[in-house]
């Protein structure tokens, strides 16, 4: 079996920052695994600005933030301290620190001395919040719609209602509007947004998009494709006020109701997430959004650099 000092799973900001910091702290045999064809992770589809103000002291877009880290990774690759393996999908992690991954035409098993999991998070879906009604086409998670527009160049709908006012939902309200779609409402069940204030201003207010607080989607209606949603106000206990119900016609519903750390592999190894970046198995670390969901990529980068250092210190100890 191939042996490595350190394997980093995930080539987004967390994985790249962790790998770079591990290198700077003396680890010279690193394998960085990324399932996509490019490094950068979700930053590649976050084409808006607002990244890097803390870490790089500049207002960057997501791809630019990723690019800064990718350039540093490439510089290390030159001295063979780090190998980047793209299109590499990890399917198994054991408590003995064996990582199994698939890449085109290959099935690899590698024994590591330390592992940093930087697998990010996934979106909560319609199924995780109670929205009754039909199950037509036209319902997307906000991040999926972002990928369709910004990476694939498809516009998934023309008349859009967004459920939830988290940052991705707000960003997508602006993105759909700029691409010529009509965003008819952002519907938030809480009395305020979980998103950044600047996104309320520049993504919603700038385009006069109605933002309904203390409202929920009562029902999604549509035969083949979404036709309309029924919206209703709720009281402080989130009970519906039936007399307030009204319909909004639309062909698309975006669900932006939060993110969940993606930790199936850590669970597979029998490990549990503990204090900052550590797990119950010494030498297996977790950082970035797979450790906890962060608001800013800058904070992900800062904390993931610590994970790289933690892994380097662990490798010196054993």
């Amino acid at each position: 079996m191939i042996k490595r000092e350190l394997i980093v799973v995930g080539g987004g900001p967390a994985g790249m920052a962790a790998a770079l910091s591990a290198y700077e702290n003396g680890v010279k045999d690193i394998l960085l695994l990324e399932r996509d064809q490019f490094l950068g992770g979700i930053l590649n589809q976050c084409i808006h600005t607002g990244f890097g103000l803390q870490h790089f002291k500049e207002d960057l877009t997501g791809p630019e933030f990723a690019d800064r880290l990718i350039i540093k990774i490439k510089a290390i690759k030159a001295d063979k301290a780090i190998e980047v393996s793209l299109q590499s999908f990890v399917v198994k992690l054991t408590d003995r620190k064996v990582v199994t991954y698939l890449k085109p035409g290959k099935f690899e098993e590698v024994q590591a001395k330390a592992i940093i999991m930087a697998t990010g998070c996934r979106e909560r879906t319609r199924e995780m919040i109670p929205i009754p009604g039909d199950r037509p086409a036209g319902i997307f998670s906000a991040g999926l719609a972002q990928k369709m527009i910004n990476i694939e160049g498809w516009l998934p709908g023309k008349e859009v209602v967004i459920i939830g006012s988290g940052d991705i939902g707000l960003i997508m309200a602006r993105r759909f509007t700029l691409e010529g779609a009509k965003v008819k409402a952002v519907v938030e069940i809480q009395k305020e947004s979980r998103g950044l204030v600047r996104n309320i201003v520049q993504c919603v207010q700038d385009f006069d998009i109605p933002l309904y607080f203390r409202h929920k989607i009562k029902r999604i209606i549509g035969h083949d494709r979404v036709e309309k949603v029924e919206v209703v106000a709720v009281d402080e206990n989130l009970n519906e006020k039936p007399e307030t119900a009204f319909d909004i016609t639309c062909d698309t519903v975006l669900v932006s109701v939060g993110l969940i750390p993606e930790n199936e592999l850590i669970e597979m190894a029998g490990a549990e997430i503990e204090d900052l970046n550590t797990t119950s198995i010494p030498g297996i670390f977790s950082c970035g959004n797979s450790y906890k969901v962060y608001d800013l990529a800058d904070s992900v980068t800062r904390d993931s650099e610590k994970a790289g250092k933690q892994a380097a210190e662990y490798l010196k100890r054993i």
């Binding site: 590649n44 207002d59 694939e152 700038d206």
Partner: protein
């Protein structure tokens, strides 16, 4: 006429709540900002609101379908629509790097349209 207007600074994720005193549309005093950027933002936002446009352009014959782009600096908010229409008609056929200029002096706005990620052939 002296008025007080409330604004949220969008220069960074802190989102300071600004209070701006204006006299006939001219900014007289700003409070609530935690840094100098808030002052500049408030003055600009009252007198001529500006935004950076970020969008994508079509890539042809390259491994990506779309390339993310931005204006190299802010442009008048009122020009956003026209700017995105122009970007939609733009195509990239050659490899670019982050910061490669796609369109110089974009729509005569004094800023360039630049790529924000690298794409090789």
């Amino acid at each position: 006429m002296i008025e007080t207007r409330k604004l949220t600074c969008i220069d960074c994720p802190k989102g300071c709540q600004l209070s701006i005193e204006t006299d006939n549309g001219k900014v007289m005093g700003i409070s609530g900002n935690q840094c100098k950027k808030g002052e500049e933002y408030a003055k600009q936002e009252i007198e001529n609101p500006m935004r950076i446009l970020t969008t994508t352009v079509i890539a042809e014959g390259l491994p990506l379908k779309m390339i993310p782009v931005r204006t190299s600096g802010p442009i008048p908010k009122a020009k956003l629509k026209e700017a995105i229409e122009a970007a939609r008609k733009t195509k990239i056929t050659k490899p670019v790097q982050a910061e490669t200029i796609i369109t110089k002096n974009f729509l005569d706005l004094g800023v360039n349209l630049i790529a924000t990620r690298e794409i090789l052939a």
